[in-house]
């Protein structure tokens, strides 16, 4: 009979990283504390991207003060005075796990409308912005800023295997070299968010070829998307070379020796950096059916 656990020696033989090894061996060694704000605050991440010519969703406005909450419409008006932007995303600068992200797809009279067709009255928008600034969604509850940015129109290559949201690509970069990648596919259970511990599917992607290799959902191997039933293996991620190029360049610009870069594929603009993460999770190993330590370059003695 099989034990319901594996022995540490079995895990070690596969080169699997545990949280403690990640924290002590990688994060505390390679990621200087003072650089964390570069990834924890998306306003700073975006500035760094801009300075290094790394594409990100266009920022329309950053709301810093409660006094600006009422001036949202004004801030959304483009410089050339054409007409107010109709679709955009509001997100907290220091949010995590997709919390506090509000996507607006259009207008209906006074109200704004989400992609699912829900009407959001102006009151609710103002409340959402105010709670964002007060730090409801931010790490540690600290006061925050709200970013208003371009809404991404996801590339349709993964539409058969993503449900209710936008899929993204996570690339883990170690000392400037891509280590492992996965495609994160939203499910009904994850509520449209591409977050694995909320129930999204992670599909491992071969670093060299950009082809998916089957995935993981809720810690178990899967070969098909749990909602649509479509296979998730052996798909090619478009613009793969650009995805790898962007993530390695960003990790160098951030000066983080071990980080995860989250990229979305826009149908018009191609790969765009959504955010970076200084504490990338370990489920990517399961998605790739491979321990992270196996991918690390041999340590010079």
């Amino acid at each position: 009979m099989r034990l319901f656990w594996a022995w540490p020696s079995e895990l070690r033989a596969k080169g699997i990283f545990g949280i403690n090894a990640r924290n002590l061996g990688m994060l505390s060694q390679l990621n200087p504390r003072e650089f964390y704000p570069r990834v924890d605050d998306k306003v700073i991440t975006k500035e760094i991207c801009k300075a290094n010519d790394i594409p990100t969703p266009e920022t329309y406005a950053v709301i810093r003060f409660f006094g600006d909450v009422g001036r949202l419409d004004e801030m959304l008006a483009p410089a050339d005075g054409d007409r107010a932007r109709e679709s955009f995303v509001i997100k907290p600068a220091r949010g995590a796990a997709g919390r506090g992200v509000l996507v607006i797809a259009g207008r209906e009279g006074d109200a704004l409308v989400t992609p699912s067709g829900r009407r959001v009255p102006p009151d609710e928008i103002r409340y959402h912005l105010a709670t964002t600034l007060s730090g409801l969604y931010s790490l540690g509850g600290r006061p925050d800023r709200a970013i208003i940015e371009e809404r991404i129109l996801p590339h349709d290559v993964f539409s058969a295997i993503s449900v209710g949201g936008t899929p993204d690509i996570r690339v883990v970069v170690h000392k400037g070299a891509p280590l492992m990648a996965m495609l994160r596919l939203p499910t009904n259970a994850s509520g449209g968010r591409a977050n694995l511990h909320q129930g999204a599917v992670g599909a491992g992607v071969d670093i060299k070829t950009g082809r998916t290799v089957g995935g993981v959902c809720r810690g178990a191997f899967v070969e098909t998307h749990p909602d649509s039933g479509n296979p998730i293996g052996d798909l090619h991620v478009p613009f793969w070379d650009k995805v790898i190029d962007i993530s390695t360049r960003l990790s160098k610009a951030l000066e983080l020796g071990y980080c995860g870069v989250d990229i979305v594929l826009d149908i018009n603009r191609g790969p765009l950096v959504l955010e970076a993460n200084a504490r990338p999770g370990l489920a990517i190993q399961v998605a790739n059916r491979c321990g992270i330590a196996r991918r690390l370059p041999a340590e010079p003695e």
Binding site: W7, L11, G18, N20, A97, T131, G219, R289
Partner: protein, 529 residues
Amino acid sequence: MKEKRLALVSGITLVLIGSAAALVRYRAAGKAYLSPGDSAWRLSYDLEFEAKAPGARIALGLPESGRHIRVFREEFSHPGLAMDIVRGKKTGGREAVAVSLSGGGTAHRIKASFDLHLAAHPNGKAGGGPVALSTKARSYFLRSEEAVQVASREVREVSRTLVGERASHAQLVERAFEFCYAKIAKADRGAPSDAVGAIVQERAGLLGRARAMVAICRAGRVPARLVAGFVLDDDSEAHPNVWVEYRIDKRWIACDPTAGHRWGVPDTYLTVRRDAFGIIRSQGVTAIKARFEIRRLYHHPDLPSVQGDGLANVLVLTRLTPGMQHTLAILLLLPLGALITAIFRNMVGLQTFGTFTPGLLALSFVYSDWRTGLLVFVMVMIVGLLSRQLLEKIKLLMVPRLGLIMTIVVLCMVMAVSIFDHLGITPSARAVVLPVVILTMMIERLHIKSQEDGLRQAARQLLNTFAVAAVCLLVLRWQWLGRLALTYPEGQLFVAAALIAVGRYAGYRLSELIRFRDLARLDAPDGAK
């Protein structure tokens, strides 16, 4: 790997310093000689009783440190009972109040033991100069009682004949003492135990004679009261003693009209309760069986060897009063709670709400009784989560929202204190009060977690928090561990070393052995990949 070496070195250094300090203390403790003329004693209570209904309570008077006697250690065991130590308002004496949560004749047993240091030379701290009594207190100690019938004809008559015309208070006390000591014959069975009975029949036991003395003093306008306690003497069947304190020249002076001590009592008299005649008070309790034992201690490793007022005494925590020792012991156990939480989070891999929540929850349960504590906890959590759900509807900013949740938590707690007091099932308010801030944050986090990751995940994390808190509680409740931490405060260095070790643990968490098991077994070990 610089950090690794540094961590190792600091860990080893801590352990070495800790061991050295503990060794020095251990050897010193083994040689703790008492000053010439001093002695150490142990007083033990062993009490059995039956509770008639839930809320039945029993209160034990606790020995008091005085000018010659110092209580240096006390220990209680009270399975199945909620217990708290409270201080009396009028006399300042301490009582251990135990409350039974079950009724219907449930049998209970309480044990308590107190280690006492009897010093030949009085310590300077206790006692003090003369203090005037307030008018209210004065009339309180002149009052007539059921068995101390100050207002009765017999008592007044004796008082008048003893004093004669214009005698001073001192003369009155002296004559009252002579009367009670010489005139009232010593008798045991069937002898009256009230003042009038003792005076009229001229025979009484301990209590009757003491009451007669108090009554006569009070009738002559000298404030007086009974004192209950023990006389230190090797005795496996000790009996509580009763003596008298009267007030002359703004001082309380003790006398024992049965043993014949007129102006002060010997240093071996141990006060337990003032203005009372028994060691135990009870309510809703039957079949009380009480045994007391007094033993001289010849081996006393816990007796702090405090000599003089040297600065080194600062390191001897056992010299403090038992109440303060109790508080400090719990404080000293907190780092151990943190260590347990660290082990569960970093080595086992259980996610809990908050880093210190389990330890602090456990701590509050040590202070309170765990059953009432749990009841209040569950109540506060349910009301808190329901109201948090409602708060979601009116959408508030974070700080006011947290403030509101705290208001609800506080209200719940206050109502719980009031309800439990009404039902009479707690010894004091402290048994119900849980950490408000911890509960507030827990409600908020539980709510957010359940919204984001679903009820199952939230319930699971709550369960984890509880499991870790329970383990912390098991450890923190351990009385001898608390005493060890207090006797050897350098033990904290070992805890610190253990925290460093856990902090440098880079191995797998137990939960990861399950999480990655499929990945670990994906291919045969000799697979091509």
